[in-house]
Amino acid sequence: MAEASYPDELLYHPEHDWARVDDGVATFGVTWFAQDALGEVVFFDPPEVGSSVTAGEFYAEVESVKAVSEVIAPLSGEIVEVNTALADTPEAINEDPYGEGWMVRVKLADASEAEGLMDRDTYVGSL
């Protein structure tokens, strides 16, 4: 597995999720800490494109060999894209949690909601 890392340009949710916000659309995924706690991910169950997600509530499930975990949405909005490649390569969530392991893209309902998330240093300090 990759070394622990927490990119500066991301926003972080206390449930160990990240968001990369770009012009009203955010990409979501789980942090290095989350994938390490999960262990080897063997299955990603994505939500439907077009469904809505609410900050703080789960929108997808990931399964490692031993357990199932819910993935929490850091922000609210409508899902516009899911990472279908994870169906065949769920291990990307472990190997590249901020890149190939991204989970969904969401058209944000309220861009100002992002102000409630943590920056990198605050999140890392909370670990």
Binding site: M1, G39, V65
Partner: protein
Amino acid sequence: MPTPTLKRTPLFDAHVAAGAKLVSFGGWEMPVQYSEGIRAEHDAVRDRAGVFDVSHMGQVQTSGPDAEAFLQHVLSNDVAKMGIGGAQYSMLCNEDGGLLDDLFTYRLAPDRFLTVTNASNHATDFAWISERSEGYDAQVEDVAAQYAMLAVQGPRAREIVEQIADSPLPPRMQAARRIILGREALVCGTGYTGEDGVELLLAPDDAPAVWEDLLRRGVVPCGLAARDTLRLEVCYPLYGNDLSTDRNPIEAGLGWACKDDTGFIGSDAVRRARQDGPAQKLVAFKITGPGIARQGHPVIGGGEVTSGTMSPSLGVGIGMAYVPAERAAVGETLEIDVRGTTRTAVVAPKPLYTKETDG
């Protein structure tokens, strides 16, 4: 919440040193995986060799002139068929045929046997067995503290252990005393992974040196998680998942390990279940689409999943489930309620994995 005191095996420090993630299992603090991860451990056992610390498993020794007759009374298999150095798989049943445990027994001498118990059942197994020995000239002893146990498994396991043994290892389903790395050991040609290999019973103080030596020879340390995926791929039942006192050996597909004519405790109930046919049967399944069914997930129309995982060797969700007997045939389609989502599975032949199905 108070943390119960967990027992540690003689290899605890070695597990920590090898980067193990430790979990509570059957009253023991055991490695669930090491730093390389479950898939690497699983593949090591399928392709080369891995070693599991199974020192949490218990041992009961039965000896004396009536040892054979007594074990014939409590164990489901035909104990008299076991030659010296033989090994046998059997069930421990209650009077109703309910499963108390599934066990390997080794005949060490004409009048001396060693039975290996599951960790979580050891105390109750020992109590059950010893309480029923009255009237037999046999001594039943809890000898679990005298043994550490290592399972060395995989196509290269035997050849690697043989490098540190004083003489060739006993064949499959046989047990013999050997000197391993200068230490007394009982070597058993058994295991629970579907691969060739041996299990080593050693004095607790001797176990760390043997463990370290095996690791130096390239044997990969493996935890409980890989043990579970390996055994499930070959459909070996796990007590507490697939077996319980609510199930009898016939339902579990273990009628072959029950010799009703020996008159073992529970044999009448097992015979009846055999004649009448069970209402439910333990089947193996493969998920046909995405998803993984887990223990406790209901089978729609009756029954439930007792074990489920993502198969590292097959790359699909697999498992075992009790289903109504009329739906237990290979090829039957099952629908499983996986946390509110219906997943489709097909009943598949046991074992789910063989060398031929690999890839």
